[in-house]
């Protein structure tokens, strides 16, 4: 009996939260038009959300690419197909690892920071104060951050993939002796712009949307105390990770499922 009560209360709580989240999303999207006429607001946020995530994305991309180069080489060389290392590295990065890993890193680096920032603004009455100054905090604070996150994500994913491909080349061609020309030309021939690149970009747009939305909403919905903000930050990272991985499966099935 206790269990069902718990289950019911939890389900109800989840649904009301989903409702609040959707309401928040509508407000946030409606605020975008007023942000577009003030692009400096977006640029400022793109700096703190995007540019400051640059280093972690760069370094992680490099190492992931290097590991792919190593692992790919050992497997492919068993079949004498090490010339196709470039294809393997590029396809894994552009289709999957680029969007997914960079989104996970983005949630940890930028998403948590957004939640903490908004949550603290709420706890210190800055949002309330803005409302009393007749300034809508959703329009002024939330929408620019949303746009910045949404637009930064594909750029960061592209950076991740590009650096990863170089990392694969450093290991594959530099250390393991795969032919440089074959690495690039095989990749060039096999990677399809529509199927691989565009689909990867779509994925990262979806992940950028969902991660930034979760991060901003958790901050805005946080209990305005130190503990509340810390819990909200944790929830951002956990829920973003689940959403990214779950959506990735669905998107992959839709995009690449028919062959």
């Amino acid at each position: 009996m206790e269990f069902f009560r718990y289950l019911g209360a939890n389900t109800r709580e989840s649904f009301t939260k989903l409702g609040r989240g959707s309401y928040f999303l509508i407000g946030m999207l409606a605020g975008i038009s007023s942000v577009l006429v003030r692009p400096h607001l977006i640029l400022k946020q793109m700096h703190s959300v995007g540019v400051l995530s640059f280093l972690i994305i760069f370094i992680s991309g490099l190492f992931v690419g290097m590991v792919l180069g190593l692992q790919g080489f050992y497997i492919l060389s068993r079949f004498g197909a090490e010339e196709t290392l470039g294809v393997m590295v590029a396809a894994s990065l552009v289709r999957e690892l680029g969007p997914v890993v960079s989104a996970l890193l983005f949630a940890g680096r930028a998403g948590s920071a957004l939640t903490a920032e908004i949550g603290l603004m709420k706890a210190t009455e800055q949002l309330s104060g803005m409302e009393m100054m007749a300034i809508d905090p959703i329009k002024r604070i939330i929408s620019p951050r949303f746009l910045a996150g949404f637009l930064s994500m594909p750029l960061l994913a592209a950076l991740f993939s590009a650096v990863g491909i170089m990392g694969g080349q450093i290991v594959g061609c530099g250390l393991l002796g795969v032919d440089d020309g074959a690495y690039w030309s095989q990749m060039n021939a096999a990677i399809d712009f529509q199927k691989d690149i565009i689909n990867g970009v779509i994925k990262s747009l979806v992940f950028g949307f969902i991660t930034t939305w979760i991060a901003l909403f958790e901050g805005y919905d946080a209990v305005p105390t130190a503990e509340g903000v810390s819990r909200a930050t944790t929830r951002t990272v956990v829920n973003s990770a689940f959403s990214i991985l779950g959506l990735d499966f669905i998107l992959t099935a839709l995009m690449f499922g028919d062959n």
């Binding site: 210190t124 309330s128 104060g129 009393m132 100054m133 809508d136």
Partner: protein
């Protein structure tokens, strides 16, 4: 005595009629009526937790009453469309207890913020306005500091400069004196008084600092447990025959307001009726820590 609490006054800028508001089970306001006269300083006094901040949020339209209405400058705050409410709010300054300065920008930008958001004035004009407002609160020299570099009193003065940036018709002060040292307290008292006279503002001060408030208020309401328990000029309040008002004004620990928060059980019963789970095996031998509700 006075009948302002019961009949809407022609001179009122803000009038609260038969307001009822609850938080959960607890009735914060139980059918109260208040009048705030134009150009005057009206104080709301009462112990912490009586709902003073809540009252200001109700007047600002951030909370909705269960019953009754609040008129500001002849308009019913809670029946306005969103943009009408925002237009009205531009003319209502509010000074939060914490100052609520935007921590991401310096003092200058904080004061310039409402001007930049609401006007299309050129930057040179904004600069003059900001410097004027900062000069009025005595902090023109602090324009480059960040909010975390300000003392509590300075932060409140910056917030005050920001609140008067749009030349509002009224300002609501939430506990302006709490936690201030005697010098900045004195400075704030003078500042509130002089702003009121020079700018012709209507001021609402919410406070539990009896002496400072009584020194500048034109009219005082004393609230307790959701009711107005006393009202009048500072002189009338001081001479009030109400036991309650006397307790509050003189700071006696016990009286009509009890020192103890109401408890369900008697003290003795409470002590004797110990929680058995305190001595359970789990507690004593630490078999299993209490399960956390959720990990995320």
């Amino acid at each position: 005595m006075d009948n302002r609490g019961h009949h809407p006054n022609q001179n009122s800028l803000v009038s609260v009629h038969n307001l009822t508001f609850s938080r959960g089970e607890k009735k914060i306001f139980d059918n109260i009526s208040l009048e705030f006269e134009r150009g005057k300083i009206t104080a709301i006094m009462g112990p912490s937790g009586t709902g003073k901040t809540t009252l200001l949020k109700l007047i600002g339209g951030q909370l909705f009453p269960e019953n009754g209405n609040i008129m500001v400058n002849g308009r019913d705050v809670h029946h306005l469309k969103r943009d009408e409410l925002y237009t009205l709010r531009k003319r209502m300054g509010m000074l939060f207890q914490s100052g609520a300065l935007l921590t991401g920008m310096n003092v200058y930008d904080n004061v310039a913020f409402p001007l930049r958001e609401h006007t299309h004035l050129p930057e040179s004009m904004i600069r003059s306005l900001v410097l004027m407002k900062l000069e009025a609160v005595g902090l023109r020299g602090a324009r480059d500091l960040m909010p975390n570099e300000l003392s509590g009193g300075m932060a409140r003065r910056v917030a005050l400069a920001r609140a008067i940036a749009l030349d509002p018709m009224m300002i609501m002060y939430d506990e302006p004196f709490t936690g201030q040292d005697p010098i900045s307290m004195g400075a704030l008292v003078l500042l509130i008084k002089s702003l009121n006279t020079t700018l012709g503002l209507t001021s609402i001060i919410v406070s539990h600092d009896v002496y400072e408030t009584a020194a500048i208020a034109d009219y005082i309401y004393v609230l307790s447990e959701g009711k107005v328990v006393g009202q009048g000029t500072p002189q009338e309040i001081k001479e009030s025959s109400s036991e309650w008002v006397q307790q509050f004004m003189n700071g006696a620990a016990d009286g009509p307001v009890h020192f103890h928060y109401p408890a369900k059980e008697k003290y003795m019963d409470d002590l004797l009726h110990c929680d058995k789970s305190l001595f359970s095996r789990k507690r004593l031998f630490g078999e299993k820590p209490a399960k956390r509700r959720r990990y995320s």
